[in-house]
Symmetry: C2
Subunit: 328 residues, 2 copies
């Protein structure tokens, strides 16, 4: 078995230095740290000391707060967090805040009482003061905030892409769902789409919307009555897009000939819809992994190269949008 | 404010008796218990003592273990558990066992270390010895076992219904997915379907399957090559049915004219598919609520009228099955 002595010998430093690096305590020169870390890697040394110091009197738990486990986007995030945490020997407990601030408060209390070593929060209330006085490291996921490290995807770019792809595929009378007004990620994608729509020679209507499937079902029924001429819909998430698609087919719209639809998220459901849903893909699983890494760095007091990590989004072309004519 | 004294006076018993009833300790005659409980109800007495004794040195937490949060059936169960627990002032932490026994073991440890007052387990390993030596109350959900209280739906009846509805709608060459062999709930529905198929003048093939969408995607590709004459598929869950539906449409099958498909679960996705999926509905949300009630009764040492609660299933007719001719 490889010991801390082997690491010290390999790196050409003292055992105390290796220990300092492992425990992230006291001063060590960057070059020395690199030597030690390289030796650890090369020897495949399993530093029990790290575990011991990191978890001394602490749990091996982190808390993950989700806004709505019934929206399949969030289980994907959770799986990313979970896989990364598992690789580090940490367990994950999940709380479902159900988009209710009082439940969010209760879960944070619960997490604290259970001595979690960190919290990842993907709820909608990230701007509130809830997290400010917490002594536990917090990382926001799928949310942006100035107060804490965060992982989110590029909403502005996502909104732009959705509008751009819809316009170049020929829609002229577009309905744009606004998404939850209190949610910066939703509003980023909304603004991105508006920017792009304003620059193009198209009509567009903005209608308020939430992220809930049930709300979207109701809204879809009135949408086609209010705006019967609509030939393109940019939804604020895939669940809403799915509800709209369903209603459009029910009333006999031909898709994508009469009506194009672009969603947002790329949840697993979206490729299963028929026609399958064109959408803006957020890399949910990878976002979860990044958030977990960021949290572990924060817990270990490692310097953060980036405090806020923005992940790229991509347009996923499926069957609710038309093929691009010529070179688009 | 109503006190324990008021309750005792109203019920015509001593405070000690009320306390015995509240704490469920020592002997109290059934009639006396009823008197006390009626008085509590009538006076709307909030027995802090119960809370105190129940939670003395204990958390207000229960642990919920799910096999796969990415399968939308399980978030529905979780929501039912959560809503019922919240009404009782209890919080829920969720662990995702990811169908891996080692993760299940880890989560049970985590739950224990965090002093949960009870565990609801909806994982696939319910038959193992994992739970036998636990000192914490456990209720199984969506799983049956002889060792612990459980809530599940009537799989035998569900399987029968699926086969019955498919046969009466005219399918003659049926493929039946078996579902996970280690899982009694899956095998109940499998056996129910086999029973019904054996009694009818139809051909049928049984093919092995898991509950995973990814597995079903692969399997669907070979299914239609192996059994091109298939005119009816009974899936072991909705996710598998969705994957098969997708593949069938891709290769140009007309549904339900050429091929009928019946799923199992009725996850929220199923009504969104196009054509929408006919399926056997399990009352997931209500099952979650019942499991939560059963666990709380177990924790409070209340007598269980039923240790194993079987919930009814229903056939949900949608667009992947044909209309019944005549009176079926």
């Amino acid at each position: 078995m490889v010991t801390i002595r082997d690491v010290a010998q390999k790196a050409g430093v003292s055992v105390a230095t290796v220990s300092r690096v492992l425990n992230n305590k006291g001063y060590t020169h960057e070059d020395t740290r690199k030597l030690v870390n390289d030796a650890i890697k090369e020897l495949d040394y399993k530093p029990n000391e790290v575990a011991r110091s990191l978890f001394k009197k602490k749990s091996r738990l982190i808390g993950l707060l989700l806004p709505d486990i019934r929206n399949p986007f969030f289980p994907e995030l959770a799986r990313g967090v979970e896989d990364e945490m598992q690789a580090q020997g940490i367990h994950l407990i999940i709380g479902n805040a159900d988009e209710k601030p009082e439940k969010e408060i209760e879960y944070i209390q619960t997490f604290k009482q259970n001595n979690v070593i960190g919290i990842i929060s993907a709820t909608n209330q990230a701007e509130t003061k809830l997290y400010e006085n917490l002594s536990i490291p917090v990382v926001f996921l799928d949310r942006t905030t100035n107060s804490h490290p965060s992982v989110f995807s590029d909403g502005l770019e996502g909104g732009k892409k959705a509008a751009h792809e819809m316009i170049r595929r020929g829609s002229k009378r577009i309905v744009l769902l606004r998404g939850p007004i209190e949610l910066r990620t939703a509003q980023d994608r909304f603004k991105g789409a508006v920017d792009e729509l304003c620059d193009a020679n198209v009509d567009f209507h903005v209608i308020p919307s939430s992220f809930s499937f049930q709300d979207a079902e109701k809204m879809a029924k009135t949408l086609f009555e209010k705006f019967p001429e609509t030939d393109g819909i940019i939804a604020s998430n895939d669940l809403s897009a799915a509800a709209i698609l369903h209603e459009a087919l029910r009333i006999g719209k031909s898709i994508p000939a009469d009506l194009q639809i672009i969603g947002y998220d790329d949840i697993p459901l979206s490729k299963l819809l028929f026609p399958s849903l064109s959408t803006i893909r957020q890399p949910a699983y990878d976002m979860g992994r990044e958030a977990a890494k960021l949290l572990m760095k924060t817990i270990n007091n490692e310097p953060l190269v980036q405090k806020n990590i923005q992940m790229p989004v991509t347009f996923v072309e499926r069957q609710t949008t038309r093929k691009v004519e010529k070179n688009g």
